[in-house]
């Protein structure tokens, strides 16, 4: 098993408050990892750092052996680290189809093509169709994205991320704000994608049932630091984790 992402001594603070303190971790290719912790623990900031959205103060991030610290977010995304968002980050005025199409266009490097019709590329169309079908959005492809239900918008958000054929998928609270049924189908989707494509997935979650249900490895963050990492069993019984986050009810 090779290490696809390695973070060494990552630190980041805003005005003296550390959102990432001495972060060291290794992510193995094909793993399904959960990052949990109380609000403000720095989970999203970690994603921001990995995806290049914010600059670190110190430390290194290695992707497939290459140092990606300081690279621009669009470069990191096209290298294969793709994220989906806590609040659905989509193009509201465009159709569902076109939302995914933009991602396909990026994948096939056709974004500067200004004279061909956007639907005229067979490979781009087929790829878009496939993603939509896989995520059960194909029937809704002509709806305007803003007209989708909240849950569907989150699925669209993830669909767009998947369209880039990522090597690592960063999911930020994929089930936030969803109904129980939507949650179930989202979890199914994540599990299937992970299995089918051996997709290295990192996800932030607050729903412990989901976390303990599917995560192979769990990392717990509190106040910018990783205080524990391990399997569901190990984390469930880790006294530090129980004290700082889980409480006794688990």
């Amino acid at each position: 098993m090779d290490v696809i992402l390695e973070i060494k001594n990552l630190n980041k603070h805003f005005d003296g408050i550390y959102v990432s303190k001495n972060i060291n971790l290794k992510i193995f290719r094909g793993s399904l990892t959960a990052v949990i912790g109380p609000n403000g623990a720095g989970k999203t900031s970690l994603f921001n750092l990995i995806s290049g959205y914010i600059e670190k103060d110190s430390g290194e991030i290695y992707f497939q052996g290459m140092d990606i610290t300081g690279k621009k977010p669009e470069t990191i995304a096209s290298m294969g680290i793709v994220r989906a968002f806590q609040v659905a980050n989509i193009f509201p005025d465009e159709t569902v189809y076109d939302n995914v199409l933009v991602a396909s266009i990026s994948l096939f490097k056709k974004s500067v093509n200004f004279l061909a019709d956007k639907y005229s590329f067979k490979n781009i169309r087929e790829h878009t169709d496939m993603i939509l079908k896989n995520l059960s959005l194909f029937e809704k492809k002509d709806l305007k994205a803003s007209e989708l239900s909240h849950g569907d918008q989150k699925i669209l958000d993830i669909a767009m991320a998947l369209t880039l054929s990522p090597k690592i998928l960063l999911l930020d609270e994929p089930t936030a704000g969803m109904s129980p049924d939507e949650r179930k189908s989202m979890v199914k989707v994540i599990k299937e994608l992970h299995k089918k494509f051996n997709l290295t997935t990192l996800f932030i979650e607050h729903d412990m049932d989901i976390v303990f249900g599917i995560a192979e490895i769990i990392r717990v963050m509190v106040r910018g630091e990783i205080i524990a990492e391990g399997t569901a069993e190990e984390i469930r019984n880790n006294p530090m984790v129980i004290e700082s986050y889980l409480g006794k009810e688990v």
């Binding site: 980050n89 500067v112 956007k118």
Partner: protein, 320 residues
């Protein structure tokens, strides 16, 4: 059926063009139609930047004036026979200066971008006036000749129509292209475009270049209209008028700016004849538009229609 719906605006344009050409219409009206075509192109080109990409430039007149002056001054010195390719040359020059300007202005966002484009536009205006010996300064330049073939008002009208029609087709294709979709994406959600692996700055720059090319082209066409140009073509109020034309018609539709231009120029012509207080009326109309019809004429109509029909619109408009 869908095909027909999509092509109908083009048919309408061609039919309108033919009607004006073939019916016994006064020279003044043909001249007016030519003006509409020229500013229509300027407005649609502007909307590539504004309605599609979300960049509000208050300095578009810089490229308009530049195209006009390059084409106009060179035609005056080289002779009317060269007008056609000098027209392209003027547009190309606008394209070339758009590169450093775009690189500088696009580093800024929102209000700051608008202000820097404003500043550059005014700088251009000031320079044009100051270089009296070269540009004739505040006197402007008159007597720009056209080629013999295009001497008459009618023939120039046909020529302008052909150039504008062709340009509109190119701009239309751009709006429907992958690039066009990315631009719309940038307008709606810059950061997501970045996270999808695309460089926003680069794409905005291309949009800026394309828009400036066609803006310069419209300026060049204008120089041949009355054969006279003036530094005021660079002034920010010219950029402002275009913004109005675009919003009047609706920024979310490819043809919106064209409709807005038609209304604006017809109003200007009509009201200008009856009173010298055209700015007052223009201001009042703008006020009403902004308060009551923020989506512009076309936008308001389309929302109205959507409210009626139960079918969903399938991929219509310039940005779907």
């Amino acid at each position: 059926m869908k095909r027909l719906k999509e092509y109908s605006p083009w048919f309408a344009i061609v039919i309108a063009f033919l009607l004006i050409l073939l019916l016994p219409v006064s020279e003044h009206k043909i001249h007016l139609a030519t003006r509409i075509l020229i500013f229509g192109l300027y407005a649609v080109a502007f909307n590539i930047l504004f309605g599609m990409t979300g960049l509000l430039s208050l300095g578009s007149a810089l490229f308009y004036g530049f195209g006009a002056y390059v084409t106009g001054m060179m035609t005056k010195s080289l002779g009317g026979d060269h007008f056609v390719y000098l027209l392209l040359f003027g547009a190309l020059c606008s394209f070339v200066i758009a590169m450093p300007l775009g690189l500088l202005c696009l580093r800024l966002t929102d209000v700051y971008f608008t202000m820097l484009t404003f500043a550059f536009g005014q700088l251009a205006w000031g320079v044009c006036i100051k270089l009296y010996n070269f540009t004739g300064g505040d006197d402007g330049i008159q007597g720009i000749p056209r080629m013999a073939l295009l001497e008459s008002t009618k023939s120039y009208y046909v020529f302008v129509f052909l150039v504008v029609f062709l340009s509109l087709i190119i701009l239309w294709k751009i709006s429907k292209s992958p690039f066009g979709l990315v631009l719309n994406g940038i307008r709606q959600n810059r950061s997501r475009i970045t996270f999808l692996g695309l460089n926003v700055y680069k794409h905005q720059l291309f949009a800026f270049l394309i828009s400036s090319f066609f803006t310069g082209l419209s300026g060049g066409l204008y120089s041949g209209l009355d054969g006279s140009i003036h530094p005021n073509m660079f002034f920010w109020t010219q950029s402002g008028s275009i913004i109005l034309m675009v919003i009047l018609g609706g920024i979310n539709n490819f043809f919106g700016p064209l409709i807005g231009t038609i209304i604006f120029i017809l109003l200007e012509d009509y009201i200008g004849k009856t009173t010298e207080y055209w700015p007052f009326f223009l201001g009042t109309i703008m006020l009403i538009m902004v308060i009551l019809f923020p989506k512009g004429i076309l936008g308001t109509i389309s929302t109205f229609i959507k409210g009626f029909s139960s079918k969903r619109e399938i991929g219509n408009g310039c940005h779907s």
